[in-house]
């Protein structure tokens, strides 16, 4: 198993288990987000006296958010590429770019939420807003957690360099980050686009 071609993060048996365990965890996350999506679809049209998605969504902001998050997924991939090349500096820089893009995404999203609240769509307004804010909020909370998590890992990276342990930790964090990107693609398509078209 530990031939020359095995990436560093897969070298130890424990790391292999950690990565597999994280994949299983992502499976659970898929179920979690599927449930959030399903509930959203069920409550989507229950707007009661409040606004509908069509009334409040702003395409421009959402496009910027999408751009930021998709780019961050790409830079995260570059970071792992650097890691495989044992390029600590590249890894660090690309990860920091990833984090900045993630923070930018969060900034935009929070602004978006504040805008909705001013429009009279708070989480308490209707079935629709409850499902909308919870779905988006859960994703946003995941991104926030990811940002702080990766900061922790980068501190460890600076201290310890690229080792079997730090590399597997960063690799796992990158899986998480890509996963959040995929979830966002679904949100963009099935919440925003669908909400604005239909």
């Amino acid at each position: 198993m530990t031939s020359q071609t095995t990436p560093l993060e897969y070298k130890s048996h424990q790391s292999q288990m950690n990565i597999l365990g994280f994949w299983v965890f992502l499976g659970a996350e898929i179920v979690l987000f599927s449930t959030l999506f399903a509930s959203y679809f069920i409550l989507e049209h229950n707007t009661a006296a409040g606004p509908s998605g069509q009334d409040i969504f702003i395409l421009k902001d959402v496009l910027i958010e999408t751009f930021l998050l998709l780019t961050s997924s790409f830079t995260c991939g570059l970071a792992i590429h650097s890691m495989r090349n044992h390029d600590k500096k590249g890894l660090l820089i690309w990860m920091i770019v990833t984090l900045l893009l993630g923070a930018g995404f969060l900034y935009m999203e929070i602004n978006e939420f504040i805008h909705y609240i001013h429009e009279g769509a708070t989480i308490q307004t209707s079935g629709f807003t409850a499902a909308f804010f919870t779905l988006l909020g859960t994703h946003g909370a995941h991104v926030t957690f990811g940002v702080f998590w990766i900061i922790m890992l980068l501190i460890q990276l600076v201290r310890r360099g690229i080792t079997e342990k730090t590399s597997s930790k960063l690799f796992i964090a990158s899986l998480y980050w890509h996963f959040l990107d995929v979830v966002w693609i679904f949100i963009f398509t099935f919440v925003y686009l669908k909400g604005m078209v239909m």
Binding site: N18, T35, L43, T134
Partner: protein, 648 residues
């Protein structure tokens, strides 16, 4: 908030139990202090990451919760033993059947099964521990924090009162004010996170840590059922997580997921709840099936009949379990087509289950059946569970269900499934693996008292319920009038409950007696077992196996025994890597519990402050690079000589 809103007061029954709980706690603290065991407790138990010790703590907590849930059950049967009895008022009765259900399913059945899984699975696959020992400890402590928080509702603030299913709109703030159902939403959430982690842990453990040579079709059947159960946990628990989060938001922050007003949809709760809740039934029943299979094979002194079809049957049940949730609400006005489809999927579960029953029967055939207490439980399971199963098929037929739904017939049915299916299994498993956990057997004679009292009591309690149900008695009624004619049957049921309680008391006495007096000389293989856990010492040493076992076939240990190849060569001993203890799991869980408590009371500032504890725990864990420690060959040799005598 005034004092009597905070503390539950008024009822003398509750006051008495509060005092009892208080005194017990003080007594325990005093005892541990007197024995100067705090350090020992912290080092050996609270911070342990050893799967066997974690398993034992799960079992201990499960037995404790069994007691609590059992008292709830006794009170319910007492209240309905006579018509218009005034032992409990409506509110109190509602709280008691709610906590009975939640505790029995989530805080009794789950921890007892997960506890036995914890002890046995790594041993059965020849592993040193689970894949993530520290996560395993966190799972336990989160479950424990959730269970304690839930039980706190009894003393502080008031218990949940919307049934264990907490159907909306009833469970909404407008219909059930007070903090009771907040406890439900938050305590179950905390415990649920722990369970999800357990699921992930066992999936990885079983995929990655099997002994060399143990390919999939050589897995002991209990490992198979645990594996499939863990997959169901991963697939089903996140749904509950979301449902509980919605419930918390509705109750704490005034959102409209499940409300009557502003576009909420109470039916969404029913769907989400049972999308988790039905698989949950199989989460508790499948590992139990695995345990029965092990016990029956051992005491029939034969291998399990139709091993492969057993594995396929379990997989089939797991798959179908995801496709039947609608049968919990056939009466919601679904179209006839929908009800027909779900009747079919539900009845189909009977097919693999039937296969399993016949495989067990044919394992017995041509065997040499030894009636140990453990085996008695496994045997009693077959007829009792058959009754639960066939009534399940009756309930599956949607049209007929219009007459059974929400009646005592249903209550009788699911107790006939869950008590033989889970509780009997736990008892069978406890008697069977007790020596592996503690190095002594439970007493067989007291065990028989335990068995007969409990089985007779069980049938006497629940059989009458089928009949009152068919006579129009719905579940969850705190009172009924004389003229209904139900009184004799319900009286019988109450007597049965008392007999069952006596059975439970016999178990407790058995544990005490055996702890004091049972012989410590049980050897590694007291039952002439078939699987790897019997290849190592009883109780199992912390490193489990001095040398990683090599597996060639199913029931490898059984065949190796016949060939006399169970010895240990000194030259094979190598140093064993062990994980270190960790304080982060218990600290994290305490922080979760405290945050949960504040959330229950909607003290959000305090909750935010307390969640710093969670963050600190997570950060500390991230920066923890502990490499564990090693047990050197000399120590292993010394340890192994204790029970093997000389090494080869």
């Amino acid at each position: 908030m005034t004092f009597d809103e905070f503390f539950v007061t008024g009822d003398p029954l509750i006051l008495a139990s509060q005092i009892a709980i208080g005194l017990t706690l003080i007594g325990l603290v005093a005892l541990v202090s007197y024995l100067k065991r705090w350090k020992w407790l912290w080092r050996e138990w609270f911070t342990t990451v050893d799967h066997k010790k974690i398993g034992i703590m799960y079992i201990l907590a499960g037995v404790l919760m069994f007691f609590r849930g059992g008292v709830d059950g006794l009170l319910m049967r007492a209240q309905t033993s006579r018509p218009e009895l005034q032992l409990l008022d409506a509110q109190h009765y509602d709280e008691i059947f709610t906590t009975h259900g939640v505790i029995m399913i989530l805080f009794m059945a789950m921890p007892l099964l997960i506890g036995i899984m914890n002890v046995v699975i790594p041993l059965q696959i020849g592993a040193r521990d689970v894949a993530f020992p520290k996560l395993n400890a966190l799972s336990f402590w989160l479950f424990f924090a959730g269970a304690m928080l839930f039980n706190l509702s009894f003393v502080i603030g008031g218990s949940p009162d919307a049934g264990w299913t907490s159907y909306f709109p009833l469970a909404g703030k407008e219909f059930t004010p007070g903090v009771g159902n907040n406890y439900y939403a938050i305590a179950l959430q905390i415990a649920g996170i722990g369970t999800l982690a357990t699921g992930i842990n066992f999936v990885v453990t079983i995929i990655k840590m099997r002994a060399p040579g143990m390919s999939w079709m050589k897995l002991p059947i209990f490992v198979w059922t645990t594996f499939i159960t863990s997959i169901i946990i991963v697939a089903a628990f996140p749904i509950f997580t979301v449902a509980l989060a919605y419930m918390s938001l509705d109750r704490l922050f005034g959102t409209h997921f499940f409300t009557v007003a502003s576009g909420g949809d109470p039916m969404l709760w029913l769907n989400l709840f049972w999308l988790w809740g039905h698989p949950e039934v199989y989460i508790v029943v499948l590992p139990a099936f695995g345990m029965f299979s092990e016990v029956i094979a051992t005491f029939a002194r034969k291998n399990l009949y139709g091993y492969k079809s057993m594995v396929y049957a379990v997989a089939g049940i797991a798959f179908l379990s995801m496709l039947v949730w609608v049968h919990h609400f056939y009466t919601m006005g679904n179209s006839a087509a929908v009800n027909s489809i779900f009747s079919l999927t539900t009845m189909m579960i009977a097919i693999p289950t039937g296969v399993k029953i016949f495989n067990w029967l044919f394992t017995l055939r041509k065997g040499r059946i030894e009636f140990s207490t453990s085996m008695l439980w496994a045997l009693a399971f077959i007829p009792c569970f058959t009754i639960g199963g066939v009534t399940g098929v009756m309930l599956a037929m949607a049209a007929a269900d219009y007459q059974y739904h929400n009646t005592m017939f249903l209550v009788a049915h699911f107790h006939y499934v869950l008590i033989p299916g889970v509780v009997f299994a736990v008892f069978a498993g406890l008697y069977y693996w007790w020596p592996k956990m503690f190095g002594f057997k439970l007493n067989e004679k007291i065990g028989r008292w335990h068995f007969w009292l409990f089985v007779i009591g069980f049938n006497l309690t629940f059989m009458p319920m089928f009949f009152v149900g068919l006579d129009g008695m719905s579940r969850r009624m705190y009172t009924y009038s004389e003229s209904t004619g139900w009184a004799p049957l319900l009286g019988l049921s109450a007597i049965g409950a008392l007999i069952m309680a006596a059975g439970f008391a016999a178990l407790c006495y058995n544990i005490y007696w055996s702890f004091r007096y049972a012989s410590r000389d049980v050897g590694n293989d007291p039952w002439n077992g078939r699987t790897l856990e019997w290849a190592t010492a009883s109780p199992a040493p912390e490193y489990n196996f001095a040398v990683e076992p090599q597996v060639e076939q199913l029931d490898d240990f059984w065949h190796k025994k016949k060939q006399g190849k169970t010895g240990l060569k000194k030259s094979e001993l190598k140093s064993v890597h062990m994980p270190s203890n960790s304080w982060t799991p218990i600290v994290l869980a305490v922080a979760f519990g405290v945050v949960g408590f504040f959330l229950v009371f909607e003290w959000f500032t305090l909750a935010v402050i307390a969640s710093i504890g969670i963050i600190v725990g997570l950060v500390a864990n991230s920066f923890d690079y502990d490499e564990g420690y090693h047990i050197e060959p000399e120590e292993l040799e010394e340890e192994e000589r204790k029970w093997r005598g000389d090494l080869q």
